[in-house]
C-alpha cells in the first residue's frame, strides 16, 4: 500500500477518483437543477432557461456583457384598486441587470443591435431581452395588460388579452423582446375567484450557469454531474464482474485443463476475435437495451481481456517450485488453486480492474453516441449524441461538446493512473522509469 501511495501518478489518480466519487454521491446537492435527476427529459422543467446558451462566465466587460444570465425581475408592492365588479392590480417590475430607468423608456420599435450609448453607460437595458411572465395559481379568467415602462410612464404594449389562469400550476407567457428596464403588468380580476399569486417576471438570459445549456435548454453542468454516477457505476460494476469472471475462468482453464479448459479457451477466442463495437451497436439497435443489459453485453466481451493475462500467468505459477512442493506434501488441486494460485493472481486482478474501466465507459459512450443508449438515464455519451445530432458541432457550441468528452477522459485517466500505480506494485519489473 505504501509503495502504491509513493507513486505520484497513483496519488493524483486517487485524488481525482475521490473527487469524482464525492460528486457522484452528492451531485444532486451541488447542481443548480436537482430536479433533473428525474426530469432530465422533461421539457417543462427546463422551460425558463435560454436554449443553446454559453456559460455565464463568457459574459464580461470584454464583450460589454453581451451574454447576461437569466434574471428574476424585482417587483414593488402592487397598486390595488377595488372596483365594483372586481379588482385591478398593477405590478411594477425592475428588470434584473438593468439600470434604473431614467425618464421615459424608448417606446419605439426595439432595436436589434445594442445601441452604443447604452452599453457605454454600463447598462444592458437597451439590449432586447426575452421576457417571461408567470402568474401562479388562480382560477377562471383574468384580464392582463403588460407594458414597457413604469406605471406612470407607459410605453409600448407587450400583451393585452384575457387569460386562463391555471389552478395548481402557473400561467406562462412568452412576451416579445423588451429593451426597457421596467415593465408594468396590470391584472383585472373579477371578485369571488380564488386569487392567483403574485406574478413574476423573468428575463431570459443569453448565458446560463457554469457550462451553458443545450439546444433543449438543459443545463450542461447538471447533466455532467448526474452523468458521473452512471459512468462510475457502469465502469466499476462491469469491470469488477469482468475481471472476476476472467480471473476465475483463466485460473480454471489453466489449472484444470481437460475438455472444459479447452472449451473455455475456444470461447475466449470466439469473443476476443469478434469485432466488439459493431456487434454491440447492432444488438443495441435491434433490442433497445437498458443500461443493465448493456452491462451484460459488455461483460460477455470484456472478460476476455483479463482471461488472457490470467491464463498465461496461472500456467506459469502452476509450474513453479512452491506449487510442486505443495503437491509433494499432498496438497490437493483445490487447495493449490485457492491457497497458492489465486492469491498470487489477485493483485493483478485489482490492477486490471482499474485499467479496464476506461474501455467500458468509452464503449457505453460510443453506443450512446449512436442514440442507442438507455433513455431513462443521462449519460455523457447521450449528451454527446444530442450535441452531435442537434448541431453543436456545426454551430461551434463548445460548451456542449467539450465537457462530456473531457469528463470521460478525466475519469478514464484517473482509473488508468490508479491501475498503473497498482501494476507497478504487483509487477515491479514493468516499471521502467
Amino acid at each position: 500500500m505504501n509503495a502504491f501511495l509513493a507513486s505520484r501518478s497513483a496519488r493524483v489518480g486517487l485524488v481525482i477518483l475521490a473527487l469524482i466519487g464525492l460528486l457522484a454521491l452528492f451531485g444532486p446537492l451541488v447542481v443548480p437543477f436537482p430536479g433533473a435527476v428525474t426530469r432530465w427529459r422533461d421539457i417543462s422543467y427546463w422551460e425558463d432557461n435560454p436554449a443553446g446558451a454559453p456559460p455565464a462566465w463568457v459574459s464580461g466587460p470584454w464583450n460589454h456583457w453581451a451574454f447576461p444570465p437569466t434574471g428574476r425581475a424585482k417587483s414593488s408592492a402592487p397598486l390595488v384598486r377595488e372596483g365594483t365588479a372586481g379588482r385591478l392590480e398593477t405590478w411594477d417590475f425592475r428588470l434584473a441587470g438593468g439600470a434604473p430607468s431614467a425618464g421615459t423608456p424608448s417606446a419605439g420599435t426595439p432595436t436589434l443591435a445594442p445601441s452604443a450609448a447604452a452599453t457605454a453607460a454600463g447598462g444592458s437595458t437597451s439590449r432586447p431581452r426575452d421576457v417571461v411572465l408567470r402568474v401562479p395559481g388562480g382560477e377562471g379568467r383574468a384580464f392582463l395588460l403588460v407594458r414597457e415602462g413604469g406605471p406612470d410612464s407607459p410605453g409600448r404594449e407587450l400583451y393585452r388579452s384575457d387569460v386562463d389562469l391555471v389552478s395548481g400550476g402557473s400561467l406562462r407567457l412568452d412576451l416579445p423582446s423588451v429593451s426597457a428596464a421596467e415593465l408594468t403588468a396590470t391584472m383585472y380580476l373579477t371578485s369571488g375567484q380564488p386569487e392567483p399569486g403574485p406574478p413574476t417576471v423573468l428575463t431570459v438570459g443569453r448565458s446560463e450557469g457554469l457550462l451553458g445549456t443545450d439546444a433543449d435548454k438543459r443545463d450542461v453542468f447538471t447533466g455532467l454531474v448526474l452523468g458521473i454516477r452512471w459512468a462510475l457505476l457502469l465502469g466499476v460494476v462491469v469491470s469488477f464482474l469482468t475481471v472476476v469472471s476472467g480471473l476465475l475462468l483463466g485460473t480454471f482453464a489453466a489449472c484444470y485443463g481437460g475438455f472444459l479448459g479447452a472449451l473455455t479457451n475456444r470461447v475466449y477466442e470466439f469473443f476476443s476475435m469478434m469485432p466488439l463495437l459493431p456487434f454491440l451497436v447492432a444488438v443495441s439497435a435491434i433490442h433497445k437495451p437498458s443500461l443493465w443489459s448493456f452491462a451484460g453485453l459488455a461483460l460477455l466481451f470484456f472478460w476476455t481481456r483479463t482471461f488472457k493475462t490470467v491464463y498465461a500467468r496461472a500456467l506459469q505459477i502452476k509450474s513453479e517450485g512452491h506449487i510442486e512442493a505443495a503437491v509433494l506434501v499432498g496438497a490437493g488441486r483445490w487447495w493449490r488453486v485457492t491457497r497458492h494460485v489465486l492469491p498470487e493472481l489477485l493483485p493483478y486482478a485489482f490492477a486490471m480492474m482499474a485499467m479496464s474501466v476506461p474501455g467500458i465507459i468509452i464503449a457505453e459512450a460510443g453506443v450512446s453516441l449512436l442514440g442507442l443508449g438507455d433513455t431513462t438515464t443521462v449519460t455523457w455519451g447521450q449528451m454527446l449524441h444530442d450535441a452531435f445530432v442537434q448541431g453543436a458541432v456545426i454551430n461551434g457550441m463548445w460548451w456542449w461538446v467539450l465537457p462530456p468528452g473531457l469528463s470521460i477522459a478525466t475519469m478514464g485517466l484517473s482509473f488508468a493512473l490508479v491501475g498503473r500505480g497498482l501494476d507497478r506494485v504487483v509487477n515491479p519489473r514493468s516499471s521502467r522509469r
Binding site: F270, P278, A282, A285, I286, A365, G405, A409, M411, A416
Partner: protein, 347 residues
C-alpha cells in the same frame, strides 16, 4: 517451408471456422428482426404484384394473392423451421449473399447489399490503410527518437500520452476537430469524400486526399502514441543487448547497427501495428459517422439509423471477416518475421 505451409493451412482453417461460428451467432441474435424484415418484404412485393395485375374478381384476387404470398414465403424460406432458417441465413451471410437492402441504396440506386457494401469498402481501406502506414512510420520515428534520449522531453511526452489518449474516445476528438477545423475555422471540408461537383483527374485525387485529411489527422495523432511507446521500450531494451554491442564492436556504422535493432523488434512492432489497425477498424462506425466518411463505418451508421437489417448484417459479417483475416495474417506474419518461433525449425 512445409511445416510453415501446414501451419498456415491450420491457422486459416481455424479462422474460417471462427468466421462461420460468428455468422451463426449473428444469425441467431438477429433472427427475429431478419424474419420481420422478410415478412415486410413479402407483403410489399405481393402488394406490388397485385397492383400491376389489373382488375380481377374478388375470388381471383384472393387466389392470386394467396398464391403469390405462398410463393414469396417459400422463396424467402419463411416456411422452414426455425433452426434451418437460422442455419441457412448464417450460411447466406457467411458467403456474402446478403440479399436486398430495405432502405439504403448504393450511389447508382442499387439495392443489392453486396454492391452497397463493396462500394463503401474502398473508402474505409483508403482511410484506415493510410492511417496504419502513417502511424507505423511516425510511431516508429517517435519511438526511436524517444529511446535515443531517454528522460528527454519527447520521451516524457511519449510516456504520458498513451495513458491519456487511452481514456479518450477517438470520435469525440473527431467532433472537436470537426468543430474547430471545419466549422469555426473552415480549413477542412466538413464531410464526404469529394467536393460537389467532383473535379476530374488528378484534381479529383487531390480533392479526395483533402477530404481525408481531417479524419486522418485525428486518427493518426491519437493512435500514434501506443506504438511509439512500444517501439521506445523495445528499442531501449534491444539497444543494450549483446548482439547490438557485438555489432558495434565489430565496427559497424550506427546505421548498420540500427538495422540490427530494427530486425529484432520487427515482429513485435508489426503485431502492434496490425492490432492497432484492426482496433481502429472496429471503431470506424463512430469515426466515419462523425466525419461523414462514406466507408463501411459510415454505412453502418446509416444502416443503424434507418434500421436496415440486411445492410447491418452485411457490414457486420464483412467487418468480422476483415478482423479475422487480420488476426490470422498477424499470426502468420509473426511466425514469418521471427524465425525463432517458426514451428519445425526449418529456418
Amino acid at each position: 517451408m512445409a511445416p510453415f505451409a501446414s501451419l498456415a493451412a491450420n491457422r486459416i482453417a481455424h479462422g474460417v471456422v471462427m468466421y462461420l461460428l460468428m455468422c451463426l451467432a449473428y444469425s441467431i441474435v438477429f433472427n427475429g428482426v431478419a424474419d420481420n424484415a422478410l415478412r415486410a418484404r413479402v407483403d410489399e412485393e405481393v402488394g406490388m404484384a397485385l397492383k400491376s395485375a389489373g382488375n380481377l374478381s374478388p375470388a381471383d384476387y384472393d387466389r392470386l394473392r394467396d398464391g403469390l404470398r405462398a410463393a414469396k414465403i417459400r422463396e424467402f424460406r419463411l416456411d422452414e423451421p426455425l433452426a434451418s432458417r437460422v442455419l441457412l441465413r448464417a450460411l447466406d451471410v457467411a458467403s456474402f449473399r446478403f440479399g436486398r437492402s430495405q432502405t439504403v441504396t448504393s450511389a447508382s440506386g442499387d439495392r443489392q447489399v453486396l454492391s452497397i457494401v463493396l462500394e463503401a469498402l474502398p473508402n474505409t481501406l483508403a482511410l484506415f490503410g493510410t492511417e496504419a502506414i502513417l502511424v507505423m512510420l511516425l510511431g516508429g520515428a517517435v519511438g526511436v527518437l524517444a529511446a535515443r534520449r531517454q528522460g528527454g522531453l519527447l520521451d516524457r511526452v511519449a510516456s504520458v500520452l498513451p495513458m491519456v489518449f487511452n481514456g479518450l474516445p477517438t470520435w469525440w476528438v473527431g467532433m472537436l476537430a470537426l468543430m474547430l477545423l471545419a466549422y469555426v475555422i473552415p480549413l477542412f471540408p466538413s464531410g464526404g469524400v469529394h467536393a460537389n461537383p467532383t473535379p476530374a483527374g488528378l484534381a479529383g485525387a487531390v480533392d479526395y486526399l483533402y477530404h481525408m485529411a481531417l479524419p486522418l489527422l485525428t486518427l493518426v495523432s491519437l493512435n500514434l502514441w501506443n506504438p511509439a511507446w512500444l517501439v521506445r521500450n523495445l528499442v531501449g531494451d534491444t539497444w543494450e543487448r549483446d548482439f547490438v554491442r557485438f555489432a558495434r564492436a565489430k565496427g559497424l556504422s550506427e546505421r548498420r547497427v540500427a538495422f540490427h535493432v530494427v530486425a529484432a523488434i520487427r515482429p513485435a512492432a508489426a503485431t502492434m501495428a496490425l492490432l492497432g489497425l484492426l482496433q481502429s477498424l472496429a471503431g470506424n462506425i463512430l469515426v466515419e459517422g462523425i466525419f461523414g466518411w462514406p466507408g463501411l463505418g459510415g454505412l453502418y451508421f446509416a444502416a443503424v439509423q434507418q434500421y436496415d437489417v440486411p445492410v447491418l448484417m452485411g457490414v457486420l459479417s464483412l467487418q468480422t471477416a476483415i478482423n479475422l483475416a487480420g488476426l490470422v495474417a498477424l499470426d502468420l506474419a509473426y511466425d514469418w518475421l521471427d524465425p525463432r518461433i517458426r514451428l519445425g525449425g526449418s529456418a
